[in-house]
């Protein structure tokens, strides 16, 4: 009963939370008026846009999600230093490569997050997803060991994502 009511009126709780936070961020304030307004918008906007959202798996473990985010942020930092080195370094030593990564996770959102993560992290850019969504093609700036790279992606990113979304 309560659950269905919540579903009806707070269809996207996570987004609502993000929106609420964003509103306060945007306005740089904790004034009561803005908290009210922010809350209102955080509830109203999802109601407006919910029809335009494809159904997505729910986040099962919020804690893991936060951990995953922090890890990715750290990787981004590292990735950038690495790429920076390659840019300055000699071009002739560059060993770019195309790699096909088999995917185990399902659902557009998890795949999207995985692909984005890969793009943001060391020397890889996700270039294409196969039509059956079983393969992710990535371009690697400097490939030393393909199998290791694939294994690393799967263990470091895909596995946690599977846990977060439970799929």
């Amino acid at each position: 009963m309560i659950r269905s009511w919540t579903r009806r009126w707070i269809p996207m709780p996570a987004q609502s939370l993000i929106l609420f936070a964003t509103w306060l961020l945007l306005n740089n304030t904790l004034a009561p008026g803005h908290i009210l307004l922010g809350a209102f918008l955080a509830l109203a906007i999802p109601l407006l846009v919910v029809p335009m959202q494809a159904p997505q798996p729910r986040v099962r473990s919020h804690l893991r999600a936060v951990r995953y985010t922090l890890m990715v942020l750290y990787d981004i930092l590292v990735a950038n230093f690495e790429v920076a080195m390659r840019v300055i370094g000699p071009m002739s030593k560059l060993q770019p490569a195309f790699v096909a990564v088999p995917l185990d996770i399902e659902g557009t959102l998890p795949i999207t997050i995985l692909a984005s993560t890969i793009s943001l992290t060391p020397g890889t850019v996700s270039a294409e997803v196969s039509e059956d969504r079983q393969w992710l093609y990535i371009h690697v700036l400097h490939l030393t060991d393909e199998a290791q790279l694939i294994a690393q992606i799967k263990s470091r990113y895909e596995a946690p994502l599977k846990e977060i979304f439970g799929c």
């Binding site: 945007l26 950038n80 770019p96 195309f98 850019v125 294409e128 093609y137 371009h139």
Partner: protein, 122 residues
């Protein structure tokens, strides 16, 4: 504003600036489209993050209140940059943009373009 804080701000700004520069430098220097795709998505994003954090601290100090909305831009860029890169890569694949000769796994190109699984021998 204490010199230490100023120093921190400057450090962030400089770091940001350098990364932005490196990103663009890579864009100019790297040998093919696919390699060039790496730098803007990463270095530039980080560079901007540096600038944004620097600016955040500055306003925090200057206006004596927490000005965090620069975080939004960072967040936004983090979400969109990989998507842009992905779309560009798709477009490049579709346009059969040549990769550097020594790129490994070029046999995947056709499959990737057609969004098929990789050929069996891979």
């Amino acid at each position: 504003m204490t010199p230490v804080i100023e120093l921190i701000i400057c450090a962030f700004l400089l770091l940001g600036g350098i990364f932005v520069l490196l990103g663009s430098f890579g864009l100019l220097r790297l040998p093919d489209f696919y390699t060039r795709l790496h730098t803007p998505t990463k270095a530039t994003t980080l560079g901007l993050a540096g600038l944004l954090i620097g600016s955040m601290i500055y306003f925090f100090v200057a206006e004596q209140r927490l000005v965090v909305h620069e975080l939004l831009i960072t967040l936004f860029l983090l979400i969109t940059a990989p998507v842009s890169a992905h779309m560009l890569a798709k477009a490049a694949l579709h346009h059969k943009v040549r990769a550097l000769k020594r790129t490994q796994g070029q046999n995947l190109f056709t499959a990737a373009r057609k969004r098929q699984p990789p050929p069996a021998d891979n």
